[in-house]
């Protein structure tokens, strides 16, 4: 069912007619004089897998803890499924949380851990055990029911934590760095596992993470946070391709940034003066001449060649570093006036004579590759 909701043509955040499932309205949280979360408003729809992405101390975990009911907002309100959550304590909320440390009860078996929430709800023992067994099956932990948490590997503990949070069929599952404690390979496998389970159960997920790759893989939409504020909300592609600020462009993926000021801003021509000379961009409405701004260009949008290139923007530079990454190579190219650019190029099957250190190269990119950032 959730697959249908998530079909591209019915994205509720695009349509804007559905009632949001979670409404965060002007939430602020002060710790003493320090604002951990500043006036955040956000609508999240049923069936979404929403990622809150940001560096440490940006307020993402505090926001999640306010949704769970562990912190009381200093101002603003949270609504879940049409119900105002103000004054509702954590144990009465229709949410469940998966903790970064997993927070498994060390003195209880896996089975007891998972059944704990059901028993508190008053589900009879037999039914609770049945549902627990089903859930352990879903996370592929059948046969581990009698183990104690410390007898499990990190990945298994992570799945117990997930099962425990899901077994009560919460309307909303909150996940705090769910994959943070796993090693890289396991993390990649688990990402897809998480998506599978989310789609199977149709539960709305809100995930907090500092890992932008994880956010890109998992989410329907991402909310990028910085210093207690949401700076941009959008689908992964949108955030990557059209960041709305220098911060977001820099935070998501790697990027080359030119600082400059507008030379010409006409409906059919847009030229920006930078320290490395004029850069042609696609026209953006509402800009005036001499306005200071930034231009962001993704490394993979820049072409690299020994021969002159045909492009809206072309420059020449010297390769100072080459890093071979397998599927692609990363080059650092020094431009005449000192700026260094990162350029990535896919590695072909038979590169007999690849570009190497100290070579003078031509680089070029289109006007469309430039993202103009005013902030």
């Amino acid at each position: 069912m959730s697959e249908h909701i998530l079909a591209a043509e019915t994205k509720p955040w695009v349509k804007g007619t559905d009632r949001p499932f979670v409404r965060i309205k002007g939430i602020t949280k002060m710790f003493g004089d320090l604002a951990a979360v500043k006036d955040v408003s956000l609508d999240i729809y049923r069936g979404e897998l929403f990622c809150l992405l940001g560096g440490s101390g940006c307020g993402k975990s505090t926001l999640l803890r306010m949704l769970a009911g562990f912190e009381t907002p200093t101002g603003g309100a949270i609504e879940i499924d049409g119900q105002d959550m103000t004054g509702v304590p954590a144990n009465m909320r229709p949410t469940n949380m998966m903790f970064q440390s997993y927070a498994l009860f060390p003195h209880m078996s896996v089975e007891k851990n998972v059944a704990y929430g059901l028993r508190r709800e008053g589900v009879p023992k037999g039914e609770a055990m049945q549902r627990t067994a089903d859930m352990l099956g879903l996370v592929k932990l059948d046969g581990f029911a009698r183990r104690k948490p410390h007898q499990l590997s990190g990945g298994q503990q992570q799945r117990v934590a997930l099962a425990r949070a899901l077994v009560k069929q919460p309307k909303l599952l909150l996940l705090d760095e769910p994959l943070g404690a796993l090693d890289k390979k396991l993390r990649e496998e688990t990402q897809f596992e998480l998506i599978r389970i989310q789609e199977e159960l149709g539960v709305t997920f809100i995930v907090v993470t500092h890992d932008q790759e994880e956010a890109m893989t998992l989410s329907t939409r991402i909310g990028v946070m910085d210093a207690g504020r949401i700076v941009q909300v959008g689908e992964p592609r949108e955030i990557y391709e059209t960041p709305n600020s220098r911060f977001v462009a820099d935070f998501i993926g790697s990027v080359n940034i030119f600082d400059g000021e507008v030379d010409v801003a006409a409906p059919d021509l847009m030229r920006v003066n930078t320290s490395e000379g004029p850069v042609m961009c696609e026209p953006v409405a509402g800009l005036t001449a001499r306005q200071k701004l930034h231009i962001a260009v993704r490394p993979e949008r820049i072409r690299l060649s020994r021969t002159p290139l045909e492009a809206a923007n072309t420059m020449q530079g010297v390769v100072t570093e080459v890093a071979y990454m397998g599927n692609l190579s990363v080059y650092r190219v020094q431009l005449p006036n000192g700026q260094c650019l990162k350029v990535t190029a896919a590695n072909g099957l038979h590169e007999d004579n690849p570009i190497t250190w100290d070579e003078t190269v031509h680089i070029g990119w289109s006007a469309a590759a430039c993202r103009v950032l005013v902030k």
């Binding site: 769970a68 009911g69 562990f70 304590p89 954590a90 144990n91 009465m92 909320r93 949410t95 469940n96 949380m97 903790f99 970064q100 440390s101 927070a103 498994l104 009860f105 060390p106 003195h107 704990y116 929430g117 508190r120 709800e121 425990r164 949070a165 009560k168």
Partner: protein
């Protein structure tokens, strides 16, 4: 192997710590009453100890006080520790923290005197506690013991990952339920050591008890003190040996229990 400074000093230190205790045990089996004269092996001081009604009564009273005060102090101290570590937005938390460590650094003579003066003032004001004795000793012991328990439990609670308790709350357990289902089983080792510490301190206290006790309530340390002020007395050696034996058994049992349940 070259002789090194620290191991030798450490060895001397341990000899210093255990020599006097060993001497007590050895001389408790001395037939002669004189310390320097070895009169051969004998257990007569043990017989004399058990025949001494005053010591036996005092021991019973002290054990009673120790069990009751350690138990009440464990409850109160745990409550205090929970408030200090886990409760959010409590006014006057700093003052509470200061009060709870107060009895740890305050000299016994001051605690004893101040409590006594309080009891006297309370009696003339509200007529309770009527006179001094078991009740006032219990109150005094609970007061300083709860400070020790609170400190032990506090450190265990702050070491504990508090998201474990949050997880239980999140799964629908009420705060009281969380405490009994999750917190309590996890801090049990701290409660046991806190209780044992309180029990020992109560059994050991001379100064505070002397201030707040009255006629008819003579604790074991008070009897021992009045006896040993007059010099060495072999039945006290026997008593000391029994205490050493009890402590040793306690340590061995707890070590065995620890081994059985590896963490």
């Amino acid at each position: 192997m070259k002789l090194r400074f620290t191991p030798i000093m450490a060895l001397l230190g341990y000899l210093f710590l255990y020599g006097p205790i060993i001497s007590l045990v050895v001389y408790s089996f001395n037939k002669s009453k004189l310390v320097t004269v070895w009169g051969g092996w004998s257990t007569k001081w043990y017989a004399e100890l058990f025949a001494n009604q005053q010591i036996m009564d005092a021991a019973k009273l002290s054990l009673k006080i120790a069990v009751v005060s350690a138990s009440v102090a464990t409850v109160l101290g745990t409550m205090m520790a929970m408030v200090l570590v886990r409760f959010k937005r409590v006014r006057g938390k700093g003052l509470m923290g200061g009060m709870v460590t107060g009895p740890l650094v305050m000299p016994d003579v001051i605690i004893g005197l101040s409590l006594l003066l309080l009891f006297v003032a309370m009696q003339s004001l509200i007529g309770w506690p009527a006179g001094r004795g078991l009740t006032t000793i219990l109150i005094a012991h609970i007061t300083f013991n709860m400070a020790y328990v609170a400190v032990v439990v506090q450190s265990r609670l702050s070491d504990m990952d508090d998201s474990i308790e949050e997880a239980a709350l999140d799964l629908g357990a009420s705060p009281a339920r969380v405490f009994f289902d999750i917190t309590l089983p996890m801090i049990t080792p701290a409660l046991v050591s806190g209780w044992l510490l309180a029990f020992t301190l109560s059994l050991d206290d001379l100064v505070i008890s002397s201030f707040v006790s009255g006629p008819g309530a003579t604790t074991l340390p008070m009897v021992i003190f009045s006896k040993v002020r007059l010099g060495v007395s072999p039945d006290i050696n026997a008593l000391a040996s029994l205490i050493v034996l009890a402590v040793s058994i306690g340590i061995i049992v707890s070590a065995l229990l620890m081994r059985q349940k590896p963490k």
